[in-house]
Amino acid sequence: MEKGGRDGIPISVDELNKLKGTADRARKNVIKMQFYDQSIHVGSSLSSVEILTALEFKVLRDSSDPINRDWLILSKGHAAPALYAVLHEKGLIKEEELWKIQDISGLLQGHPETFIPGVDMSTGSLGQGLSFGIGVATGIKMSKGAGRVFVIMGDGEQDEGEIWEAMTHAIARNLDNLVAIIEMNGFQLDEATKDVKPKEFLPEVWRAVGWRVFNCDGHDIASVISTIDEALKSKRPAVIFAETRRGKGFTPIENTKRQRTVPDVARQFLLNS
């Protein structure tokens, strides 16, 4: 596995600290969202905060032209609260909408929908984002566009058969504008991933299929950015295995399969943090 590392980080210390502040605010807002809705996936969302912050603030290039902008596909759609919190930091989603998540009068759905600003693919059913991303990346190349495609998946999601169909397909298309990010947070809905099905072989499989394989610390923004930077230099499809923790930064549930806690515990946690 190729190390992303911290060498040649294309970011200043000031900017990095600013992004850390952004991620911290997004994290707190995700934790806060469970005051308003008790069924959101807080644990899975907190695993994604730094990756989403790095992508939205430092990597993605915007354009009104669909073939000359970058695409972000949150294939692990249950981490939608993290995406919404980061999009709020970007000014695309109003604060009051965050508190109306999953409310019948609100904009924000339990899983991403393309009618929400900043969402590029409606997801929620696992295993579908990579195939969609291959379609977007192929269409961009056919039209000679400069857009790049980023697909975020979970480790549990790798159980899906469509992932195999897509990972082999991406190699056949010879895409150099596609980066997959797999969050290895160690948990899926019922159990620790290792207790469900083995996952440790995954990087070997992706490499054997023909992907450039990288790894990074998924909670270290500098590591995420520099690894994505390296991955984008690849002439082949690239995958980043991001080491993350379920519930990162929210100690009552961190590194467990628990998605959330009772509002009082969350409130106390935020008061003390």
Partner: protein, 312 residues
């Protein structure tokens, strides 16, 4: 006027698709390793740069098409009807939910894959596809109607499921002169006492039944309903009122298919007694599609018996 004079459904599909692709550079053909069987591979011969065989990967194929359409392409996803159903959830959650401009064109529906047997015979797909919001469902009657309808289908905007068989294509519409429109039913034969409404190649059996019924003094209308969704309410209601009796015929399960769709309209507009001719269980292997239609009773004989039940 039609140019091809095709006698095979899939030949008409393959050849017409090439013509459309030559005229529109946004059209992309994608198949899951059934290019030759579906005749989509004619597209590869002429326009290889816009043809993708993704391998035996129907779920990936559907989302690949969804992604291509998101950046303005016009993907035509081609596979066997039965095996597209394993990607039903992808069609529902990606194509339908995002209302993307993807055409899902299937061959080998119904009993048309006669030899391969029940694993390959899709008798449930109309029911499954017409429940997906935003999806339209079109079932051409014969090879001539494939040639006539495919340009309208490909140039329509949004998700659409286009259901074809294989080679069997008795003449139903080839001598007719009409412009195909999505959402419109076509009167193949007018009549006063009974209306037979159906879709696909089994309309040939409907026409044959009507001929026999006329001999018995029963004035029988035959309606070609190529668009199952959105359905032509006014034509169905008109014939319900005019004839007071409807028999439907389809090469599909009688649960949730063409007959059910017609009944949904009839009960809301002008309820009349109905009978349903179609499949009731899995198929099996045979040497021809015709043998299977006869074996499972999707025949003019059964249409006549159903009609006589209603008229007695």
């Amino acid at each position: 006027m039609l140019q091809g004079n095709f006698s095979s459904i899939r030949e008409a599909f393959g050849r017409t698709l090439v013509k459309l692709g030559e005229a529109d550079k946004d059209i992309i053909v994608i198949t899951a390793d059934v290019g030759d069987s579906s005749r989509a591979s004619y597209f590869k011969e002429k326009i290889p740069e816009r043809y993708f065989n993704v391998g035996i990967s129907e779920q990936d194929m559907v989302n690949f098409g969804a992604g291509l359409s998101a950046v303005g392409k016009k993907p035509v996803v081609v596979g066997f009807a039965m095996f597209l159903m394993r990607a039903w959830e992808q069609m529902r959650n990606s194509i339908g939910r995002m209302n993307l401009n993807v055409k899902v064109c299937v061959t080998h529906s119904g009993y048309s894959d006669s030899g391969d047997g029940s694993s390959h015979q899709a008798l449930e797909d109309i029911a499954l596809m017409r429940t997906i919001p935003n999806f339209k469902v079109v079932v051409p009657a014969d090879a001539a109607e494939v040639e006539r309808s495919l340009p309208e289908v490909i140039n329509d905007r949004g998700p659409l499921y286009y259901r074809m068989g294989r080679d069997y294509s008795p003449p139903i519409t080839s001598t007719l002169d009409y412009k195909f429109e999505i959402g419109k039913a076509y009167v193949l034969k007018d009549g006063d006492d009974l209306a037979i409404i159906g879709a696909g190649v089994v309309l040939w059996d409907a026409l044959k039944a009507a001929e026999e019924l006329e001999k018995m003094g029963i004035s029988t209308a035959v309606i070609n309903l190529p668009t199952i969704k959105p359905i032509d309410h006014s034509t169905i209601e008109y014939f319900a009122r005019k004839t007071g009796r409807i028999v439907t015929i389809e090469e599909h399960s009688v649960i949730g298919g063409v007959g059910s769709a017609v009944a949904e309209v009839v009960v809301k507009t002008y309820p009349v007694p109905m009978r349903f001719v179609g499949a009731t269980t899995y198929g099996r292997s045979a040497r021809s599609q015709r043998e299977l239609l006869d074996y499972y009773g999707i025949t003019s004989r059964n249409v006549i018996n159903s009609a006589l039940e209603l008229i007695k």
